[in-house]
């Protein structure tokens, strides 16, 4: 039987296009120190460190956890480095959670980061491999045709992506850590921005950020004795699923791995109607159209209906019944390796009542989701205010 596990400390950096004021070590430490302070802990209280980031090419450092061990107080402790593509921030939190759930450790620090200004992420993602289909110009070139397939299938009107982009950027104005703060964001501004990968416009695309996220995960015993001013966010369900990038008949619009991952998490959490039972969700939406697509994949509505929820404002913090990405989401902050953990972390902030201006009233349960690769790696958790 797995041990009950909770988030008892949360920290993140201020995310920017270039954090030239800090080294990589300084960046991860900024997030980790904040998580430890929130947990009311010091470095010596931590049993193990689990760190994640996306491809090492982004900073040009091979297995940077080796160099980061002392900066993260890991000397003399177990340290694990996770890499599962874009979902890695979520997967890293889950590997850390399993170290507690399995009874291996009681206090685990988990950190994820990317310092994308050290390279050009788009081209780092586009290195051609022999006998493999090219990613073309970065992730947008890969995902645009899938979005077009969604539009054709669902009959979604052209403006849905713009609605998502405006909503998430407005919500980012309420999050002091967010990278993009576009004060005068408007429908017209997004609509008139340059088309990058049809149908994805410049302002419907995630930025490239420097940033880090960190959490302290703890056993029931430690969580209940925690000196943190904020209550624990208990893990009600967690899962990962993967499937291959391409094969004949694979549905990349509504991937089975995502559906099964959600089904597993909901079963653990006892959720049968996610729209009714989840109060707030932080979902990995790097290109605007992924909000309606993931609404369907995550079972918030029937297939083909996701865009209608978005269009009706159901996912907005202001007036929606299922606020998605109140933090501004990946569309407003995208240090790739940390982007998934930020989703998981924002779910914890909401459950613990720490989200400030973007806090949703009365959160009993929150969903964090991350995906990666060619929509093939999924990581999710549901956190709750009540001990499961």
């Amino acid at each position: 039987m797995a041990e009950r596990t909770a988030v008892i400390g949360v920290g993140q950096t201020h995310h920017r296009a270039k954090r030239e004021d800090v080294s990589i070590a300084g960046l991860v430490r900024e997030a980790a120190v904040r998580a430890l302070e929130d947990a009311g802990m010091g470095w010596s209280d931590i049993d193990a460190v689990v760190i994640g980031k996306a491809p090492d090419m982004f900073e040009g450092v091979v297995m940077p956890e080796l160099y980061l061990a002392p900066a993260l107080g890991a000397v003399g402790k177990p340290m694990i480095r996770v890499h599962t593509a874009g979902s890695v921030g979520g997967s890293t939190a889950l590997v850390a959670a399993h170290l507690v759930a399995s009874g291996t450790h009681e206090r685990v620090l988990t950190v994820a980061f990317e310092k994308q200004s050290d390279s050009d992420a788009m081209w780092a993602l586009s290195i051609p491999q022999p006998f493999s289909a090219p990613l073309l110009a970065g992730a947008g070139g890969y995902f645009a045709p899938i979005i077009r397939a969604y539009m054709r299938r669902s009959g979604a009107p052209d403006h849905i992506g713009i609605v998502v982009a405006v909503k998430d950027r407005k919500q980012a104005l309420l999050n002091p850590y967010a990278h993009l703060h576009i004060e005068d964001i408007s429908y017209e501004m997004v609509r008139d921005s340059i088309m990058l990968w049809d149908p994805v416009r410049y302002l419907e695309t995630c930025p490239s950020s420097d940033g880090a996220a960190a959490m302290v995960l703890a056993s029931e015993r430690v969580a209940e004795g925690s000196s943190s001013p904020h209550p624990p966010a208990w893990i009600h369900g967690m899962a990962m699923r993967s499937e291959p990038t391409m094969f004949a008949g694979r549905d990349q619009v509504n991937p089975k791995a995502g559906q099964e991952c959600a089904a597993d998490v909901y079963a653990q959490a006892g959720i049968t109607d996610p729209r009714a039972e989840i109060d707030v969700a932080e979902v990995y939406v790097p290109f605007s159209w992924y909000e309606p697509m993931w609404l369907e994949n995550l079972g918030f509505c029937p297939e083909g209906e996701g865009w209608k929820l978005t269009d009706a404002g159901a996912t907005a913090l202001d007036g929606g019944d299922i606020p998605w990405n109140c933090s501004g989401g990946v569309l407003s902050t995208n240090p790739i390796g940390a982007s998934g953990m930020l989703r998981f972390l924002e779910a914890a902030l909401q459950v613990r009542g720490q989200a400030g201006a973007h806090q949703v009233e009365t959160v009993r349960r929150a969903l964090g989701q991350a995906y990666g690769g060619g929509s093939q790696f999924f990581a999710m958790w549901v956190l709750g205010a009540d001990k499961p």
Binding site: G60, G76, I80, R81, A85, A101, T104, Q376
Partner: protein
């Protein structure tokens, strides 16, 4: 730590270790190994509760090298899966901890690496502190040479001791059909080698290896069903040291000792527990001596009967192979207790120790 639930290695497979795998890509190199590890226990990937792998993007110079590797497993329907940018031994650790939770009974662990795709020395130099150390371009051989010289300076060992390790490794590797470097060379012959970087001569260096490996773990009765003599993991732990070489005592391995203690391999007096076989991931000959001392191994312990990392050193692979080889000595009945060690980073920075036995810890549980 000691496990809450008995988990064992029940199957192990590996590719031949070669200097340059030119005919097959990563997936094609890995796929026969995956088939082999399943066939040995009559399972398929659909029987796996969890899959975890280890690899390094930089070896092939492209992001997401592990993504295509899913094709070697055939990840459909979707599977519960994760990946570490570490040696496969650490993937096995992750799988082992998840098996403690009781909701799954089996796990596949695999790793692969084709070092021939890049200049390995340059790739590994990029592991170093990117601000203060990597710009000086000290390659792994130069750093290991500093460690070896420091060891000589303690008066504990000399160059002939390094040669003796290499001589024994190559001789033992002759009975390992997967080994890359084998031979019957006396210490005197080896000492005639030129220095690569003093005090390291050619024979004290690991080969550059392409290869892949896979292990299946199973818990409790499932392990007993699948394998006549499961190799039970009675304890496992790993620890990391600071990256700053100047702040470390390179002539000892404090974290190997820490991990061994946590894995139950040191007795109350700090002496090494009595194991019959030890597979040590010592890429450089002198590192085997450091590890033996850290683990307190008696002279009677059979060290690296496979030939060890001096016979084949697949990056991301060699650590998991050590666990597989040590487990195989138990599964084939030649040993009842064994230990395996894996390392990562320059000069043994990070170390994992795994204790294996023919009987589970606290036999009778599970």
């Amino acid at each position: 730590m000691a496990p809450r639930r008995p988990v064992a290695v029940v199957s192990f497979a590996q590719s031949h270790s070669v200097r340059r795998e030119e005919e097959h890509n990563d997936v094609e190199m890995l796929q026969p190994v995956i088939v082999d590890v399943f066939q040995k226990v009559g399972l398929t990937k659909d029987d796996m509760g969890f899959v975890c792998s280890g690899s390094c993007d930089y070896l092939v110079g492209a992001p997401f090298s592990f993504v295509a590797a899913l094709d070697a497993v055939g990840a459909w329907p979707p599977m519960r899966e994760s990946h570490v940018e570490m040696d496969g031994a650490f993937a096995l650790y992750e799988a082992w901890t998840q098996l403690q939770e009781d909701d799954i009974d089996t796990a596949l662990v695999y790793s692969f690496g084709r070092s021939s795709m890049s200049e390995l020395g340059r790739v590994l130099t990029l592991q170093l502190d990117p601000y203060y150390l990597a710009p000086l371009w000290p390659d792994p051989v130069a750093l290991a040479a500093l460690q070896a010289q420091a060891l000589i300076d303690t008066g504990r060992y000399g160059e002939a001791d390094f040669a003796a390790v290499a001589s024994r490794s190559r001789r033992q590797a002759r009975s390992n059909p997967h080994a890359q470097v084998t031979g019957d060379h006396s210490v005197e012959e080896l000492m005639a080698d030129d220095y690569v970087v003093a005090p390291l001569r050619r024979h004290t260096l690991p080969p550059i290896t392409d290869g892949a490996t896979a292990v299946i773990l199973a818990a409790g009765d499932r392990a007993r069903e699948l394998c006549e003599r499961p190799a039970w993991i009675t304890g496992m732990d790993h620890r990391i040291e600071t990256h700053a070489l100047g702040a470390r005592d390179l002539t000892t391995s404090s974290t190997t000792r820490q991990a061994a203690a946590a894995a139950g391999l040191l007795d109350g007096e700090g002496e090494g527990a009595a194991v019959e076989v030890a597979e040590l991931h010592a890429p450089f000959a002198h590192q085997e001596l450091i590890l033996r001392d850290a683990l307190g191994l008696a002279d009677t312990v059979a060290v690296n009967p496979s030939g060890g990392a001096l016979a084949a050193n697949g990056v991301m692979v060699a650590g998991l192979v050590r666990i597989g080889e040590a487990a195989s000595r138990i599964m084939d009945g030649t040993a009842t207790t064994a230990l395996a060690h894996a390392t990562s980073g320059p000069c043994l920075q990070q170390n994992l120790v795994c204790a294996l036995a023919a009987e589970p810890a606290g036999a009778g549980r599970g």
